[in-house]
Symmetry: C2
Subunit: 327 residues, 2 copies
Amino acid sequence: MQYYAGIDIGGTKVYAVVIDEAGCVLGRAKTKIGQENAFEQVVQKIMHTYRGACRDAGIREEDIPAVGLAFPSPIDRVRRIIKHAPNLGWIDLKFSARLKEAFGKPFFVGNDVNMGTFAEYHLGAAKGHISVYGIFVGTGVGGGYILEGKIVRGLAYTAGEIGHTIIKMNGPRCNCGQRGCLEAIAAKSGMIKYIKKQVEKRGKSTLLEKIAPNWRKSLGSSALRKAFQRHDKLVSQALKRSAEAIGVAVGNIISTVGVDAIVLGGGVIEELNAFFLPAIEKSMRKHSFAGAASDVALLEPRLGDDAVALGSAWFVRLPEKQDMLFY
Amino acid sequence: MQYYAGIDIGGTKVYAVVIDEAGCVLGRAKTKIGQENAFEQVVQKIMHTYRGACRDAGIREEDIPAVGLAFPSPIDRVRRIIKHAPNLGWIDLKFSARLKEAFGKPFFVGNDVNMGTFAEYHLGAAKGHISVYGIFVGTGVGGGYILEGKIVRGLAYTAGEIGHTIIKMNGPRCNCGQRGCLEAIAAKSGMIKYIKKQVEKRGKSTLLEKIAPNWRKSLGSSALRKAFQRHDKLVSQALKRSAEAIGVAVGNIISTVGVDAIVLGGGVIEELNAFFLPAIEKSMRKHSFAGAASDVALLEPRLGDDAVALGSAWFVRLPEKQDMLFY
């Protein structure tokens, strides 16, 4: 029996799992990342968390032939660099030598959203489908595209950047500098801007002032849910705009590449799934071409916090991926 | 030596080629389709044109082991139907038995734009690239997506419908019923609507009244070119809107699936390529995320009128496609 480890490196935590050959999670571990997010410090936390997951699984490190790691950044596999991880403050970071030294075994480095979508495709919600696009809505919007079991990365590793497709030319300004991106309407950053404008320029009011007084700077998904449940008009409007925009993006994906399933996840959608899923479906049907959306499955993710780490472990487990590992 | 035939069935003509194993075109033939476009009549013309191309190539029919056909419609391969060919007035047309009877040999039925993009990928402008998206702008906007040499069709055969992706929510009405589709801004149908509105509601004037008095109903690409060359302001504006919208769609394709080349063709673009290619490139760079577009090649098609028929012939020529043929 062989075992595999997968490690999800986020802006605030390192999360590791150890799985068996069937993809069952045998052990987990988690370490917080605070301000100490220089690469060397994060590598220490990665190793600490990895060893914690091995202990939790009751597995020795030497029984693990390969490790998968996922970072919140596009990964340039050829030049072996983490291209841009804003949450960790890293740009064009060479990862290869240090991780090789740390693990002393073959490893893979991937993008977190790709790995999460990959896990949902092989082991979670989208199992059995031919192609799937994952859309994850939180502070921003991330995405991943899996076709016939393989992650589509694209030249310059831009596949999956559905958050920066333009659905409304000359629409609201996005953090990326463009106008009318999905993210600028659908993500929390876009909702905050919208609500702020309504409050400041049109004199409207919102319960967020009481529920989350700091909402202009940082807005939790649970605060959004609370305000929505109390029928806050501005929050409801912001959520409706978001769901409508996501439905348009889903329709565009269907027209562009014709996937057969869409996984809809991320903090915002998962916190308010009873609202979002039907609203996105309605918008998708309204905004897609010639009934094309009728057979497309809209799915909620099933793997929860494990998804990204699990996908990374499953990726290195697959024999056909072995020649993609670094060492 | 074996030979292969490919047949392009359009709204106004049937066009056939015969190729050798290297993809060289040895013979061609063409037959017009007028009002006689019932399936049986078109099948007669297909056979007539096919035989004409064989004669032109100096090849006997029995030396051709398989034939590829392309129709202007999504093709349901499982149910074996031509789903919707508005230019021929066909809906849900069963093609299998009649074509089998006519040819008496294995054949393939595909979508014309897919086949044209497939030809440019394997034998034309996009040779050597990993993935390519074709965008063809004429009366409408068609598209095709080839990844690692394979046509991506998608569930319900919707891949390639880039013309009906929404780039401007609440934008101009499209013939498909949606608002803000690429086609409603970039294609001739969209340009006519735009120019009409400027003339009728804003009292502006255009040289098209002289160059092509019937422009409200039918506008040739060459009339557009002539008006543009004479600095007609409305036509120039319509073309700029079109190029900008195509650039947005190209940026969206890059962010969604990350192709490494885009083939830009169709009557409108090809007639005005000196204007369109730089204008689309400028818009693409402005509207794509984080410099992602910098390495993406924008290509003009190279195969001209042969493309669709040639792609169909090349498809049935490839050994790995043999199990996809009908018989």
